[in-house]
């Protein structure tokens, strides 16, 4: 099951899927997407990108 990329809650269904910085992300609501876009990503950008690089499959 997915977790909201902003608040961290488990999202059972009716996920809100949005693309941001080239990545498809799952949110529980449009409100959380707004928080991610205007607050979380700008504040934690380096940490988020580092975590994504660490979990992305290695390129061939």
């Amino acid at each position: 099951m997915n977790k909201c990329a902003s608040c961290g809650i488990l999202v059972p269904c009716h996920e809100v899927i949005r693309e941001h910085h080239g990545v498809k992300l799952v949110f529980c609501s449009d409100k959380c997407f707004g928080i991610y876009e205007t607050y979380k990503f700008p504040k934690y950008k380096e940490k988020i990108l580092m975590a994504e690089r660490a979990t992305s499959p290695p390129s061939e």
Binding site: K3, S6, C7, G8, I9, P12, H14, K31, Y39, K40
Partner: protein, 605 residues
């Protein structure tokens, strides 16, 4: 009813809402919903079996609209009122409104699915009118025992399986008939099947009562009118909340504090940390920086963390804002899964809703103290959770009981802290000594305000007093505990003193010496352990902590010090030491000149 169109807005007109409902009709309906919730609560209290409900009142009755948004609640437990929005939302999404029918009741207690913790059972009844769901009535209540490794659930559990029975959203009533298999699963897995069955029926009955009251309302007014009115009820609350937030200064404020241990890893405190962000008329509570989830039961589920956030914010905003879904709209939460504030499966979290919660609220309030004068010093910070279980020798029946007690609340800008009030997550009552001695094989040998150990912090406004209670056991009893503030003290604010620690001690057999849990039972933690045995004649002492002080003690009004002296809450010597107040004991008056001289000397130092 006429519809008056009104436009209400924030002071700088950033948020505008059209209110279409006549304001008098809106208030009538809003108060009808509150009164219905109160009536549901009375029904619950009078028909439930366990003292947890009919004495301690640890339950909450709520009404939601057809969208699953809260429109009515009453003077119940803040922890429930905050978390239930997520619990209900999850239950509706997972079951699906299209799969609900008239006569259905859904049951759910899963903390990973928006719930609080396993003991908090939530029942939800869809209310159908003209063939569609127009509202839900709900009751969330703390079941005393849900199985698991300790009677009454609270100890040093290490995963969800040790805590007890976990139920995803399931139908417990279908077509107004009991789903017998679900009831049989529940009562086969709890220590008190008779009480648990009776309590569940009381919860369900309260939801049916709420449904009847909603039907009576809709027989008087049109459905479209009702639906518009409930939208406006939420919208009014949203705008009032945004107005109140907009009066706070914009910016970021940090908060940080600790839980003293998790009951599993010795002497390791756990950090709750983050940032409060005020942006115009909205607040973000960002818990980034909090510790990874603990090995023991102190973790909070997301629902609990959301609830602590709403609780702290609503404490510092206007008290007149009607509490419903609208209040929560301007508040956002950021957490990382797998941390102490958003536990991942299968992490233990039974203590998170009850005993971590008040500390989290106090930590948030300490952050808010930098931007609001409505914050308070820390309260006693624990529910004093002690679980008892055994067989009653008089009746031969198994018993399980969860003890809750009051603490002292922290001093505030304009008032001393409350004495002996349950922590900020609950609006619960204590279990009277008479009920204890009637229902369980114990004697209550003492129950007082705590004046020595656990004493409140001095301050311009002092903290409130906790309590001191001694039990004597009359039959073999299994006892477990999940409490806090035995090592970390409730803190003062702005020069106020910290309060004293909580105390939990035992006097076993013929011994005259009180020993703590580590000394007596070789536990890892002073306040979190499972399944120790108390035998007939053994005694237990619990002193709950007072609240921290607010402001320097030397600034306290000498007349308030004198009042406390006359009430025998402090001695003349303490008044002189802590407050610089000299009391003429023979005349029972403040010696003004001596007090002024003493305080001047102290300030020079």
């Amino acid at each position: 009813m006429e519809r008056d169109q009104k436009r209400i807005a924030n002071e700088d007109n950033k948020t505008e809402v059209d209110i279409q409902t006549n304001p008098i009709f809106l208030e009538v309906v809003r108060n009808y919903l509150i009164t219905t919730c109160r009536e549901m609560g009375i029904a619950m209290m009078r028909t439930s079996y366990s003292p947890m409900f009919n004495e301690a009142l640890d339950f909450t009755c709520v009404i939601f609209d057809g969208k699953g948004e809260m429109i009515g609640q009453a003077e119940f437990c803040p922890a429930h009122i905050g978390a239930i929005v997520h619990t209900v939302e999850w239950a509706i999404k997972e079951v699906g409104p299209e799969n609900m029918k008239p006569g259905d009741v859904i049951l759910h207690n899963d903390p990973y699915r928006g719930g609080c913790h396993l003991p908090e059972f939530m029942v939800l009844k869809p209310f159908f009118y003209n063939g569609k769901i127009v509202a839900y009535t709900a009751n969330i209540a703390h079941m005393t025992d849900v199985g698991g490794m300790v009677p009454a659930c609270f100890g040093d559990t290490r995963n969800i399986f040790q805590e007890g029975l976990r139920l995803p959203p399931v139908k417990i009533i279908e077509n107004d008939e009991e789903c017998a298999d679900i009831f049989r699963i529940i009562i086969s897995n709890v220590r008190t099947p008779r009480n648990s069955y009776g309590d569940l029926k009381a919860m369900i009955g309260s939801c049916y009562l709420g449904e009847r009251r909603l039907r009576e309302l809709l027989e008087k007014y049109d459905l479209p009118e009702f639906e518009q009115c409930t939208e406006d009820i939420k919208n009014v609350s949203e705008v009032l909340t945004r107005k109140a937030i907009a009066r706070l200064p914009d910016g970021e404020t940090s908060f940080e504090g600790y839980l003293e241990d998790d009951g599993v890893i010795p002497d390791r405190p756990w950090k709750i940390k983050g940032t409060l962000v005020v942006r115009g008329d909205e607040i973000i509570a960002d818990y980034t920086g909090s510790d990874p989830q603990a090995a023991g039961a102190i973790n909070q589920s997301f629902g609990v963390t959301a609830s602590t956030t709403y609780n702290a914010i609503l404490h510092i905003l206007d008290v007149d804002i009607p509490i419903n879904h609208g209040c929560y709209r301007p508040i956002s939460i950021v957490t990382e899964p797998g941390t102490i504030v958003n536990v991942d499966y299968p992490g233990s979290c039974v203590g998170g809703n009850s005993d971590t919660y008040p500390t989290t609220v106090d930590i948030l309030l300490s952050g808010f103290s930098q931007i609001s004068d409505r914050s308070s010093a820390a309260d006693g910070g624990t529910c004093g959770l002690i679980g008892f279980g055994g067989t009653n020798p008089d009746t031969g029946e198994p018993f399980a009981h969860l003890h809750l007690d009051g603490v002292g609340w922290g001093g505030r800008n304009d008032h001393d802290g409350n004495d002996n009030i349950f922590v900020k997550n609950g609006n619960c009552a204590n279990t009277p000594a008479e009920v204890y001695e009637t229902r369980y094989p114990v004697l209550i040998e003492e129950y007082n305000l705590a004046l020595g150990e656990g004493a409140p912090g001095a301050g311009r406004h002092r903290g409130g007093h906790g309590t001191r209670r001694i039990w004597k056991f009359l039959a073999p009893t299994t006892m477990s505990a999940h409490t806090n503030r035995l090592t970390l003290r409730p803190w003062g604010l702005f020069g106020g003193d910290d309060a004293g620690n909580q105390v939990l001690k035992f006097r076993i057999g013929e011994s005259k010496e009180w020993k703590n849990a580590k000394e007596q039972f070789n536990t890892i933690s002073l306040g979190k352990f499972s399944n120790v045995t108390m035998n007939p004649g053994d005694e237990m002492l619990l002193v709950t902590a007072g609240g921290g002080g607010y402001g320097p003690p030397l600034e306290r009004d000498p007349q308030l010090v004198l009042e406390d002296y006359i009430e025998e809450l402090l001695t003349a010597e303490y008044a002189k030491d802590k407050y610089g107040v000299v009391i003429d004991e023979a005349r029972r008056e403040v010696d003004g000149e001596a007090t002024a001289r003493l305080r001047a000397e102290r300030r020079e130092k």
